[in-house]
Structures are given as C-alpha cells and as structure tokens.
C-alpha cells in the first residue's frame, strides 16, 4: 500500500461529454496540459508543461495502460523534473480517471493518482507534517463537490 491521491467531483455533463474532454487532445489541453493523447491501450504520448501555476515542470511521458470507453482511462505519468538521469523506474506514477453515470444524467468523475516510488506514509508520520490525518486512507483528499 502506497500513498494515493484521490479527487472526486460530480459533473452535470454525461459520461460521453466528459470522456471527450479526457481523450480529445485539444479538449484535454484546454483544462489539463498540451498533449498528443490517443486513448488506445499501449499508446505513448506526452504532456508538455511550462511549469507555471503550480503545474509540474518539463515533459510528462505517459503510456496508456487501460481504456474502457466512457468508464475508465488509466495511464502512467512519468516526470523528468527530478533529473532524467535518475533511475528508469523511479519516477513513474499512475493516473486513473473513473467515470460513473449519476441518476441525474451527470458524471461522477474520480481522479486517482498513485504508484509513487516510495511509501511516504511512515516518513510523513515521522515528520509529523500532517497532524490529524489518517495515514493510508485513500479518501483523505476528496475534493468537495462542485457547488
């Protein structure tokens, strides 16, 4: 078990529209980062990031790991910001988008970012950087529902 970031938001738009925003390069670029995504398992693509507004700097290399149209999209997320000479496997993390239709015709979108190189829970506890948090609970980063 490693550190997991989970964010959730309920969108009024249906899964088809949300899926487009996740898989059409121009649409994805308009909210995430410039990219050349292809929603095909095994496809490699990248995000280009200038690094402003708290975005990660440099290039993010990705490989599509799983595609279930209108339901799930998962890709690896490898940044080179820590120095590309670092060991090959060290900077991989994984991003998963899950789409669930809601009864009101909208979409519950869940973003899961995990697979970080080391389990940070113990060191974080040692550093006491997050008093009051429950280490290991994957739902401690839940994003508040859109107002």
């Amino acid at each position: 078990m490693k550190d997991t970031l989970v964010f959730e938001c309920e969108l009024p738009e249906g899964p088809e529209k949300v899926w487009k925003a996740l898989t059409v390069p121009e649409l994805l670029a308009s909210w995430l980062l410039p990219n050349d995504i292809r929603p095909v398992q095994g496809a490699r693509f990248s995000f280009e990031s200038g690094g402003p507004e708290g975005a990660p700097g440099g290039r993010i290399d990705c490989e599509v790991l799983k595609v279930e149209p209108l339901r799930l999209l998962r890709y690896s997320w490898r940044t080179d910001e820590m120095g590309s000479t670092a060991c090959e496997d060290s900077l991989d993390s994984i991003v998963t988008f899950e789409l669930l239709p809601t009864v009101r015709g909208g979409t519950l979108l869940r973003v899961i970012h995990d697979g970080f190189p080391v389990d940070l829970r113990a060191p974080v506890a040692m550093l006491a950087r997050q008093p009051g948090s429950r280490p290991g609970s994957p739902f401690r980063h839940l994003m508040r529902k859109a107002a």
Partner: protein
C-alpha cells in the same frame, strides 16, 4: 542534483528496505547486515548512496559507526506529491468550465 540523488537512492528495493529498517532505530553496519542476505560491503555501498541522498546520517563512537534514517531527506519527494494535491483540484475546476462551454 540533490533530488536526482534522492530518486536514485530510492529506486533500489534493497536501499528502500535499508532505509525503512533504519527508520525504526539506529544500527551499526554489522547489525544491519544481519537482516539482509547480502554482504557487509554491499550494505556499506547502499548506506553511502543513502547518505549522499540525505536519507541516512551516521554517528561515530570509537571505532564503531551507527546509522539512522533521516526522514527529512524525503522532503523533496513529499513536496512533489504535495504539488499534485493542489494541481488536480485546480485542473478539475478548469475542466468544469471547459465542459460548460463544450458543444454537446
């Protein structure tokens, strides 16, 4: 580059295990070697890499050297993960706007 050292140090599973072992208390190289199926020189090499990365500190006492974990050495990595804690909510807010403006 300090952060590249950090990631290189943590990329190796044995080094991660050494680090985790030392996180529970100070040990000498020979005490540390007991728990692993690799040679003392190999452990020493791993310790040197961990020290360079700022993950392990040493204390000399006479002819003995004791090692302990320095969790603060993980701060760049924690910072890296923390950045995504703010990155994703901010991007998802943008997504909401983009979806509203999208045709069908």
């Amino acid at each position: 580059m300090m952060e590249a050292n950090l990631f290189r140090a943590l990329a190796d599973p044995t080094r991660r295990a050494v680090f985790e072992r030392l996180a529970s208390g100070e040990l000498s190289v020979s005490q540390l070697t007991e728990g692993f199926s690799i040679s003392q020189p190999a452990i020493s090499q791993h310790l040197a890499t961990l020290r360079e990365a700022g993950l392990v500190a040493e204390r000399r006492q006479g002819r003995f050297v004791y090692y302990r974990a320095e969790p603060a050495g993980l701060s760049p990595l924690i910072g890296w993960v923390d950045r995504y804690r703010t990155f994703w909510p901010e991007r998802l807010r943008r997504l909401q706007t983009v979806l509203k403006d999208m045709e069908s």
